[in-house]
Symmetry: none
Subunit: 401 residues, 2 copies
């Protein structure tokens, strides 16, 4: 539902909503006729929640669309991920906890290899070490650009973050990454007139970078893409009337929560930390988002058995979380990351929503196939979960008389 539709219906309540996101939760069987990791995992507590709650599978973005972490989370936060898009530069900044200011222009950078004619030979510069990356970033950061503050920050291996800070800059600039080898890096083209100044700065940056890096082969050039600025979106607490806190281990997920105006609690290292964070902050917020990275990482690594183990670990924490007595508890993933694909995928994601007011269905197991017959249906848009959470938290007035 449109924010403008929801807003006049909001009413205050003392209820609390908890959204527990197991990153990449949805999966595929390892072999024909087998179970998914979630189905294979022993999850007595999630199964209990499923049998008392409302189950289904959500589609993060649209039919067949494999989401990145950004849009997948925005959907769960109730923000239409097609309407609310974040640039890759901004996501890169979130990922390394760079404190992006409102008008900063951020870009995702690659060190790459060019030949004597300036043609790209390796878009990733042989995946140089992160240490080498640090050395090069500090060289590049010494560069000066007129009237612009410059940040060049290491991400990992060949990847870095470029940020320009100054007046009259916008992210309306085309990529310099030609996306293929044997081509020259592209000139940074302004995509609209107000991108002209930033494009000129980027052009200077690339030119100087080429000079600085020329003896550092294989990392003798840079490619830039995803120029973008921090979006100014409606704030979560205004849109949904709940003061929200985010608990996560990785800066990316805390950063995504910050983008919609959630408060972020200190980064956690374990489920114990997350539980402690929930407990100590329980009185202060109406909405808690808890992010668990493990199942996704295991999926990306193709490690089906580690996925099982990590899901079972989270299951063990469900009763401890429920002891906090949330009024609405949602457990789901942001997307699927089947170990057999070793990547994010488009497959719908199991979800269970429990509240005292939910209408239980007949699902007794929390798994991909069991959830198909749940009351949320096999294909509910992820963005619909937030309005349902509000309703189940008794935070929505009637529409019309």
């Amino acid at each position: 539902m449109d924010f403008e539709f929801i807003r006049p219906l909001l009413k205050s309540a003392e209820t609390k909503v908890l959204l527990l996101v197991l990153d990449g939760l949805g999966g595929l069987p390892l072999e024909k006729g087998g179970s998914t990791a979630l189905e294979a995992a022993a999850t007595p507590h999630l199964d209990d929640l499923a049998s008392r709650g409302l189950c289904g599978l959500h589609r993060p973005i649209g039919p067949g669309i494999t989401p990145g972490s950004g849009p997948a989370h925005l959907g769960l936060f109730g923000y239409d991920p097609v309407k609310y898009q974040v640039g890759r530069g901004v996501l890169a900044a979130l990922g390394i906890d760079f404190d992006l200011k409102p008008r900063d222009v951020a870009a995702r950078g690659n060190f790459c290899t060019v030949d004597e004619n300036g043609l790209v030979q390796d878009r990733r510069a042989g995946r140089i070490s992160t240490d080498k990356n640090r050395e090069l970033c500090s060289l590049l950061e010494k560069m000066t650009l007129p009237g612009v503050e410059l940040f060049v920050k290491t991400v990992k291996e060949h990847r870095f973050l470029l940020v320009l800070r100054g007046e009259n800059l916008t992210g309306q600039i085309g990529d310099t990454d030609p996306q293929n080898v044997n081509r020259k890096p592209l000139e940074p083209e302004p995509r609209s007139p107000d991108g002209a100044r930033a494009a000129a700065m980027i052009s200077k940056f690339v030119e100087q970078a080429a000079g600085i890096l020329k003896d550092h082969s294989p990392a003798n050039m840079v490619l830039l893409r995803g120029f973008s600025q921090r979006p100014e979106w409606p704030l979560f607490d205004e849109v949904f009337g709940m003061k929200a806190a985010a608990i996560a281990a990785y800066p990316m997920y805390l950063g995504l929560a910050k983008l919609v105006g959630m408060n972020t609690l200190p980064s956690v290292r374990s489920m114990d930390d997350a539980l402690a964070g929930l407990k100590s902050n329980w009185p202060n917020y109406d909405f808690f988002y808890v992010h668990v990275k493990g199942p996704d990482s295991a999926g990306e690594d193709g490690d089906f058995h580690r996925r099982i183990r990590l899901i079972e670990e989270v299951d063990g924490y469900v009763p401890k979380i429920m002891e906090l007595d949330p009024d609405v508890m949602i457990v789901t993933g942001d997307h699927s990351t089947p170990a057999v694909l070793k990547s994010h995928s488009w497959h719908p994601v199991p979800v269970v929503l429990w509240s005292r007011q939910c209408r239980p269905d007949c699902v007794e197991r929390f798994g991909e196939r069991a959830c198909l017959s749940g009351g949320l249906g096999p294909y509910i848009p992820a963005v619909d979960l937030m309005p349902l959470a509000l309703a189940n938290a008794l935070r929505l007035d009637k529409f019309g008389a």
Copy 2:
């Protein structure tokens, strides 16, 4: 589907569609692990219809949205309730069968109590008796406003309907109800330039009303909200190509049917009356909407067992209705009214659609959980039912060649 999409596909047929609405049909179990009222009710005839028909659950408005009666019915009539919104003033007029003319401005009024400083102390004036309300309305109706005809009609207890009739009036006026106590009633502000004249009239009305009521404490002031005019919408028979008749006990539901241009049959007092109305008018219409209020009222009263009894009563009439030989029979609710919540709710609503052309599913019981696995799915938008009814009535041509 958009009306403009449907219209060119309409074809005439001799078929008849019957929409039987059990108000507030959807429910929740009374206790954990229990059945809903519909599930607990003995409904052999609805179960038979379910086993021969197509079942599912519809969502009246959107995820988590609890509908009022107005938008809930408009959805069932095939009108997108977010696009086709009715003001509260107009709904109040419908509710007491006031013959609202096209340019009349209607508002919902409350008698309220103000203190010596004009601050609202009780927004409902201690819920004065309906008799007292009648006395006060007739006093207020004697008031004169320049160039405007005035109607002040009793609804119930503290509630009344105000209607202004005259030239250059619109409903573009803000509420005077401050919604909280210890505040003064608000000035009626025009929401657009063409609301200025009506706002000025309302201002005069409120001022005079204060004088007339000053010695009638606790009902010594009025609050007004939901200023609105009768909408001019596409007519049901033009949109769906069926001449429609509405059968209901309460003016509100007949009024909603009138808003979309249905004919209304004389108000009924019982299912026997409704059946008689159907029989005697059967040859004259293509579409019949029959409204049964009971399950909603019982839900609002928190009376789970009366809900069961009323649903069972309607079930007994299903064979008698089917003897009329409708080509399409739809049984559903406009929304859910769980007895445990004592109010309308956001929960999806069971629906069965039967026709000779429907593709039966595996549902054999008409109930919330059984319908989850039906062919209409667990979450079909209510507005989709009308096009499906048309198709099953063989009243839609092929789209494209």
